[in-house]
Every structure is written in structure tokens, then in C-alpha cells.
């Protein structure tokens, strides 16, 4: 059986599934239940300064988008950091860590961007016995208006500065949680590394308005007729998260920087994908908030079963394996030719491939052959775009098949087995002379 245990910047956990800093990790009650269910670790919901805690709205805090059968695809929230007293949180963190020594206990922190504030809170957190801290530079709503959260994460210099303070005033491992609400994720990641951070975690939520109430013309969730943008998370954000993780994993300056992956992890497969792109652990929130803590059992078992099937004994065996295969468009092989193939036995004749291709792409799929409803790819028109595969409702009914010999019926050009990319393509005015 595969060994799921992880050692992430010195923080050990029995599996790579951590609960992200969020409502599920706001209290001992929840965290105890999470550990009982099998979660490998938690990042305790973000602590603020000592003194009167922040207050939340008393109206709705969440908005959502749904797929078929009201499956929750994206969740948006306007909740702030913990609204419980700092002392209560610190006491509970210490108690829970003492009861669950084998689980990762990371504490999320967000205090004003002043050295004194960080200097004050760090020893208090360290005293709890927590395994590490995560700097919340990500929340895009509410706290950012007060110069914290994403307001810090959007300025690489601030990230570096605060990371340096934390390394200076604490011996705990430091994870910097990055906001996706920037143009290029590599800059904040580089700043975190420059500041001495041990790792980054990403992504935090994406600034969003999930919908507009068309009766009162206000954003959802609506608080007394008004709404403000929230932070978007859940399965819908996973593609954005994977890309940002990959950007950091393959950047020359940050390559090798430990990453805790966050964003839309719902199943073991999502987790495996984050790990394949270099993550050491994954953090989960929306899936737990949708289904409860028990889902970690599917995640852990699924990951273990898949690793057994593939012969991976430890997480490290496949961690980062996909990173070398993430490249720039310009290096993709332009001599790689594929054509769509429709399996007529599996085809249920819905015609979606045809109409998608006919109306919006390359007119490469028939609808009627000899007076009979029949969907078939015309190789002389098919550019291999894969749209039909994506709109087909049947698994594996349409597949992309590589052409390895003969010539491409669309272009008439012989299949060239050699790799050739845009950098040497004759149509590229910037093309380098192809190496002979």
C-alpha cells in the first residue's frame, strides 16, 4: 500500500490533504471533527491582531454557481478572517495540537503591514506548538480595503518585507499564501522566496461577483440591497490554480520552492494533478464545505489506490513529474498531426459534435450520409482541434488519433516524423535558422 505521508518544509502529516484556512478551520470543534475524519492537517482560520476581533456581516456571506443537478461548481464568499477572540483561538490551537500530534497544524495570520504587529503575534502563535505559519496575503475582499490580505499580496516588495519579519521573529516554517488577483504570479512568488519564505501556497480566492439579482439589481450575496465583490473558489477555479502552480514550478527563479496547492480540489485526481505539477501538499475547502469532512476518505483512498496501480510508493515518486512537460506554446511540435475519430458503436447521435464543428469551427463533421443521420469526421477538413471531444456527452466516443504516416489529407503535406516548432517555422518572421 502506498505511503501517503508527507514532510512539507519540516511539517509532517499522515497524508497530503490539509484543510485550507477558512470557515471549516475556525474552531477546535470543527478541526477535531476534521482530524477524526482523517484530514492530514489544517491551516487554522486566519488570526488577526489582539483586541476586539473583526466583525462579519450578519446577512448572507456566500454566493454560488451550479452545474447540472445543482452541483456546486463555484463558491464565492465575503467572510473575513476569524471573528473570534485571539486568546480563544490560541488556546484552542494549542489544545488541538496537543491532542493530535501527528497532524499538521499550520496557523494563518493576517495583521497590519507593520513590523510591530507581526513581532507581537508571532511568539504567541509559536507558543501554541503549531508546526508553521501561513501568511494570508490573499483575501481579496474586506480585509484588503484595510491594507491587508490581497493588498499586500499584490505588492511583491511588501511580501518580501513581511516574510523577512516572520523569518526574523520566529523559528516556525513560513508559507506565503498568494493571491491570484495579479497579472503574473511569478513576481509575488519570487518575492516570497527572496524574503526567505520556506514555501508558497496558492491560490487564494479570485475577486468575483457570482451573479446579479435581477429583481433588485444587486450583486449576490446581497446585504440590504447592496453587495461587494467576494472571493471565488471551488472546482471552477482549479484550471487557474493549476496554471499558476505550474508557472512557479517551472520558473527558473522559484524552481524547487515548495508549494502547497489550493484551488478546486474535489477528488483524489485533482490532488494528484496538483502534486504532479510539483505541490507537496494540497489544501481543500469548498469540497469540505459542500460535502462535509468525510470526503477526505475518498481522496486518501483514491490517491493510494492510484499510486498502487501505478507503482508509486511515496508522494515524492510522482511529485513534479508533469513540470517538465509544461512548456511555452512556441515549443509545441507543429509536425504532430491528429484527427478526431468517432466510435460509431458508442455514438448516440446527439449531433453536438457536428453542430459545434459546423457552426463554430471547421465544418469537418458530417450530419447526414446517404440520407441517414450519421456523424463522421472528414479528415480533409479536420484540424484536430478537439472541440468535438469536449462537447461529446459520451466518454471515449470521440478520440484524437495521431497520424504517423502518409500525408495529412487537409494540407496534402507528408507526415514529418521530426519535431519542429514555431521558432523555426518559415512563417515566423522571427524564426531562427533551423539547425541542420
Amino acid at each position: 500500500m502506498a505511503d501517503l505521508s508527507t514532510n512539507f518544509i519540516g511539517i509532517k502529516s499522515p497524508n497530503p490533504f490539509w484543510l485550507a484556512s477558512a470557515p471549516p478551520t475556525d474552531k477546535a470543534y470543527n478541526v477535531e471533527r476534521a482530524f477524526e475524519a482523517g484530514w492530514g492537517g489544517v491551516v487554522w482560520k486566519t488570526l488577526g491582531e489582539a483586541g476586539p476581533p473583526v466583525v462579519n456581516v450578519n446577512g448572507p456571506r456566500y454566493g454560488a454557481i451550479w452545474g447540472p443537478d445543482r452541483r456546486l461548481l463555484g463558491l464565492n464568499n465575503i467572510e473575513l478572517i476569524t471573528d473570534r477572540d485571539l486568546e480563544v483561538n490560541l488556546r484552542e490551537i494549542a489544545e488541538v495540537k496537543r491532542r493530535w500530534p501527528d497532524r499538521a497544524m499550520v496557523v494563518s495570520i493576517m495583521v497590519p503591514c507593520e513590523e510591530q504587529s507581526w513581532k507581537a503575534i508571532l511568539p504567541r502563535v509559536e507558543d501554541t506548538g503549531a508546526d508553521g505559519i501561513e501568511l494570508n496575503f490573499g483575501c481579496p475582499h474586506g480585509m484588503s480595503e484595510r491594507g491587508m490580505g490581497a493588498a499586500v499580496g499584490q505588492v511583491p516588495e511588501y511580501i518580501q518585507m513581511v516574510a523577512e519579519w516572520c523569518k526574523h521573529y520566529s523559528k516556525m516554517p513560513v508559507i506565503v499564501k498568494l493571491t491570484p488577483n495579479i497579472t503574473d504570479i511569478r513576481y509575488p512568488a519570487r518575492a516570497a522566496k527572496a524574503g526567505g519564505a520556506d514555501a508558497v501556497s496558492l491560490i487564494n480566492t479570485i475577486s468575483s461577483i457570482v451573479s446579479v439579482d435581477l429583481d433588485n439589481f444587486a450583486p449576490v450575496p446581497t446585504i440590504d440591497g447592496k453587495g461587494s465583490h467576494g472571493g471565488y473558489c471551488g472546482p471552477a477555479v482549479k484550471p487557474i490554480a493549476l496554471n499558476m502552480v505550474a508557472e512557479i514550478a517551472r520558473d527558473a527563479e522559484t524552481r524547487g520552492l515548495p508549494i502547497s496547492g489550493i484551488g478546486g480540489v474535489q477528488t483524489w485526481r485533482d490532488a494528484a494533478e496538483f502534486i504532479a505539477l510539483g505541490c507537496g501538499t494540497v489544501q481543500v475547502c469548498t469540497a469540505a464545505m459542500t460535502y462535509g469532512f468525510k470526503i477526505v476518505q475518498e481522496m486518501a483512498a483514491g490517491l493510494s489506490d492510484w499510486m498502487d496501480e501505478k507503482g508509486y510508493e511515496t508522494i515524492a515518486d510522482f511529485q513534479g513529474r508533469a513540470v517538465p512537460n509544461v512548456t511555452d506554446w512556441q515549443y509545441l511540435n507543429l509536425n504532430y498531426i491528429t484527427k478526431a475519430r468517432i466510435d460509431q458503436d458508442l455514438c448516440i447521435k446527439c449531433g453536438r459534435c457536428h453542430i459545434a464543428c459546423e457552426d463554430t469551427s471547421h465544418q469537418a463533421i458530417t450530419a447526414m450520409v446517404d440520407g441517414v443521420r450519421h456523424f463522421e469526421v472528414m479528415d480533409d477538413e479536420c484540424v484536430g482541434c478537439n472541440l468535438c471531444v469536449n462537447v461529446c456527452p459520451v466518454d471515449d466516443c470521440i478520440t484524437m488519433v495521431e497520424m504517423t504516416e502518409g500525408s495529412d489529407p487537409r494540407t496534402g503535406r507528408p507526415i514529418d516524423p521530426r519535431y519542429a516548432n514555431w521558432t523555426t517555422h518559415p512563417n515566423n518572421p522571427m524564426a531562427k535558422q533551423a539547425a541542420e
Binding site: 447540472p68 443537478d69 445543482r70 448516440i348 447521435k349 446527439c350 449531433g351 453536438r352 457536428h354 453542430i355 450530419a367 443521420r373 456527452p393 459520451v394
Partner: protein, 448 residues
């Protein structure tokens, strides 16, 4: 008395609650949540097979997408554009042999999208919200058209003609409009007086008047109508029923199934309806199924459908056959009636002969006889046209009216549609389409 001992026909076999339960909606409407879940299953197919299979060509993917997008009222408009009786068709269409049979999800997983129930959700939502009528009339044309028969074909034709600006008078022989929707469909398929609600809805277009109690041949004649109006549409259905041709057919307890169904539909109090303890229904179509199930639901203990051919020859769909069987009806094939046993003026049993197909493929008796005790025998062996009032005016084909593709008869001012025309399928939805096509053809002819 021996008769009362052997023959047991009486009302009030069940509790009031059982009557109410038995005759409630057999396929309850989808709740809004269920409708959304079901609508999500539709793939919005290109050139959708369901749409092709619908005799009225309803844009099914579009109406389902509208439901999915929270616009059930708009979905109903899409339905009504093609089929103004979309509400009744949602209840009575044999969807399992039409749209749902060809649904790609039937092919994919053996579970078609529940198109009929979704159509009902949309049309019910529309009618319950008391929306304004979905169509407005074109400018008046000054043309007057007579429609004979206020069944599905006549109502569909009248509505289309009225919307095109013509004035329509419908002559209906019975007391109420609706035709088989009112008198012929099983009670549990159209509860709460839906047929009359739908007639009211159709009349909202304006320009249609209905004269009930006016029968063709008795109160009005075809030639006179053809002379008085600019055009005539015949949607007279099949008023007669086939006879067994057996001795004893007039005995008490030998009943036309269509009459039984009609009486049941009009009954104010089902507990007052008499039903036998042992019933034999003769026939293999929907009428046989409806009569059998409803007699069972009225409290009959043993109900047998006897059909002279095999299961594969039955006009009732497999789904409807199974529905009968799950209600406890026994279906026996290859049995043809031979004689009725009559005692003191009432039927007591029926003898049937086993049948088979001979070498030439013709139905033949085997000589083996079976006698089934029966307090009532329902005849559901086919309905027949009444050529009488039509004679001489329009050409017939095997007793039914011959029509062209655009539902014109041989008479230049007379069109026809529904069950009374030759070559039809005797389905509500086909009648609706006939009426629609005829109306378009009439419009074209009158405005030429």
C-alpha cells in the same frame, strides 16, 4: 337466485379514499426541482431525433432548455407554437413510441429524458399562472369557416384559423367540446377537468364559437355548410364501434369499452358506477388497456384482456401493456371470441378459441376452446367511421375520408383531419397536426 350468485355487478366496491387514490393523476406532474433535474439531462441535440419523431414537430430541445434556464412560461410558448393542445398531448401521447423512443439518452443509457412530463410541467405552469393567451389574431379576413367536431383535430384547426384572422364556428354533436379528450381518455390521465380547461384556453384566441349538441346529418348537413361557409373542416372522429357479431351481444353486461370510458369520465361520483367482479376485455389497443385498468381501479377482482393475435401485434405500446399488468390485469394473447354465455338476459361467461397464424400468415382458429367467467365483457375491437352524413359529398377510402397531404378532400371547399381520415394513426397528437395542416391549407386557398 342463481344469477345474483354467479353474476356480481355492483357499484361501491371501494372506500371513498380508494376511489380518490385510484383515479388520481397516474403520472403526477414534476415538481419544479424534478423538472430542473430532468431538464438538465437534455443534450440539446442538433437536428434532434425527438423533434423529428413528434408529429407536431415541437422544438423539444428548445423548450427543455427554456425550462432549464428558469423560463417555463417561455417553454410553453415554444410548445404551443406547434401544438396548441400541448397540455393534453403531454398527458396522453404515447411518448415511449414517439419522442422518448428516439431520445439519444434512451440509446445511451436506456433512460430517455422525460419529455412528456417536461412538456406537462411547462404547459401546466403556463396555464396555472393565468398568462395572457400566447397568440394574437391577425387582422380579420372576413372569411368564415365551419369546423365539424370539437375534438383535437377540430380545435387545433379552429385555433390556427382564428389566429390567421378567420372566423370559425364549430359544430359539436355532444354536450361538451373536447372530443376524445373529454370522453375517451382514461380518467387518471387527465384529472381536474383539464380537457375543459384546455378548451377554454384555446378559445381565448377569440373568433371561435362552438355550437354543442349539433350533429352532422341530424342538425346540419355537409352540403349546406359548404354552401354557407367559405370552407369546412371535418374532424368527426370515429363515432361507431365494431360489433362482435355474436349471439347475445345485446345482453346486459356486454358493453362497448368506449361507452364505459366515456361514462366513467363524466361520472360525478365514481362509487355509483357499477363494475363486475370478473371482467373480460376484448381487444389489443389503447381502449382495451384503458377499460381494463379502469375497471380494475373501480374494484373488479379479475380483469383479463383477450386479444386474438400475439403480443407484438397489439396496438397498445409495450409500456401501456406493462402498465395494465402492474395494475393486475392479465393479458392473454391468441384468443378470439366464439360465443357469449347469457343467462337471464345477462352475460355470464365468454368462450374463446385459441388462434394462430396459418402457413399463409392468416389468423386461424385451432379448435381449442377456453371459457372465461365474466360478469361484464367490454368490446374494444375498434371504432368505425360513420359514412352516412358524408355520403356523396367527399370521397371515402375504406369508410374513412380520403385526403391529400394538405388534408384536402375531394370536395373543393372541404378539408378533413383526425381519426376520420384514411391512413391516420388515431393519435391525439396526429389529429392536432392534421388540424394545423388543414388550417394552413384552408388559409392559403382562401387568401389566394
Amino acid at each position: 337466485m342463481t344469477v345474483t350468485e354467479t353474476r356480481d355487478v355492483r357499484p361501491n366496491r371501494l372506500s371513498d379514499a380508494a376511489y380518490a387514490d385510484n383515479f388520481s393523476d397516474i403520472h403526477p406532474p414534476l415538481t419544479p426541482h424534478k423538472a430542473l433535474v430532468e431538464a438538465d439531462r437534455c443534450y440539446f441535440c442538433y437536428d434532434a431525433p425527438c423533434m423529428t419523431a413528434c408529429p407536431t414537430s415541437i422544438d423539444i430541445p428548445m423548450f427543455i432548455r427554456k425550462i432549464q434556464a428558469g423560463n417555463a412560461v417561455g417553454a410553453a410558448k415554444t410548445i404551443f407554437e406547434q401544438n396548441i393542445l400541448g397540455g393534453m398531448c403531454a398527458r396522453v401521447c404515447p411518448t415511449e413510441t414517439l419522442c422518448e423512443e428516439v431520445c439519444v439518452r434512451e440509446i445511451a443509457e436506456g433512460k430517455p429524458v422525460k419529455i412528456g412530463l417536461l412538456q406537462r410541467h411547462a404547459t401546466d405552469t403556463y396555464m396555472e399562472r393565468e398568462q395572457p393567451h400566447p397568440f394574437t389574431r391577425a387582422a380579420p379576413t372576413g372569411k368564415k369557416i365551419a369546423v365539424i367536431g370539437a375534438g383535437p383535430a377540430g380545435l387545433s384547426c379552429a385555433h390556427k384559423l382564428a389566429s390567421l384572422g378567420h372566423d370559425v364556428t364549430i359544430y359539436e354533436a355532444r354536450e361538451k367540446a373536447g372530443g376524445l379528450n373529454e370522453y375517451g381518455i382514461a380518467a387518471y390521465k387527465t384529472t381536474n377537468d383539464f380537457a375543459q380547461d384546455e378548451v377554454s384556453f384555446i378559445l381565448e384566441i377569440g373568433g371561435i364559437s362552438i355550437e354543442t349538441g349539433k350533429a352532422l346529418g341530424r342538425d346540419v348537413t355537409l352540403d349546406q355548410l359548404a354552401a354557407d361557409f367559405d370552407a369546412v373542416f371535418l374532424g368527426v372522429g370515429l363515432p361507431g364501434v365494431n360489433a362482435l357479431g355474436l349471439k347475445g351481444e345485446t345482453a346486459a353486461g356486454v358493453i362497448d369499452a368506449v361507452d364505459f370510458i366515456g361514462v366513467l369520465r363524466q361520472a360525478e361520483d365514481l362509487s355509483l358506477l357499477e363494475v363486475g367482479r370478473r371482467i373480460v376485455v376484448l381487444g389489443g389497443g389503447m381502449t382495451a388497456i384503458d377499460a381494463a385498468i379502469q375497471s380494475k381501479l373501480l374494484g373488479a377482482e379479475e380483469v383479463t384482456i383477450a386479444y386474438r393475435r400475439g403480443q407484438e401485434h397489439m396496438n397498445a405500446s409495450l409500456y401501456e401493456q406493462e402498465l395494465a399488468q402492474t395494475h393486475g390485469v392479465v393479458i392473454r394473447h391468441w384468443l378470439a371470441p366464439v360465443s357469449l354465455h347469457v343467462s337471464e338476459g345477462a352475460v355470464s361467461a365468454i368462450t374463446l378459441e385459441k388462434t394462430r397464424l396459418d402457413n399463409t400468415g392468416k389468423l386461424a382458429g385451432t379448435g381449442e376452446l377456453v371459457t372465461l367467467e365474466a360478469d361484464q365483457v367490454f368490446k374494444a375491437i375498434g371504432q368505425t367511421p360513420d359514412a352516412g352524413p358524408l355520403a356523396g359529398s367527399v370521397e371515402l377510402e375504406k369508410g374513412r375520408i380520403r385526403v391529400s397531404d394538405d388534408r384536402r378532400t375531394s370536395h373543393p371547399k372541404i378539408w378533413a383531419g383526425g381519426d376520420c381520415v384514411a391512413g391516420g394513426e388515431d393519435l391525439t397528437v396526429v389529429s392536432v397536426e392534421d388540424g394545423k395542416i388543414a388550417a394552413q391549407s384552408i388559409h392559403k386557398a382562401l387568401m389566394a
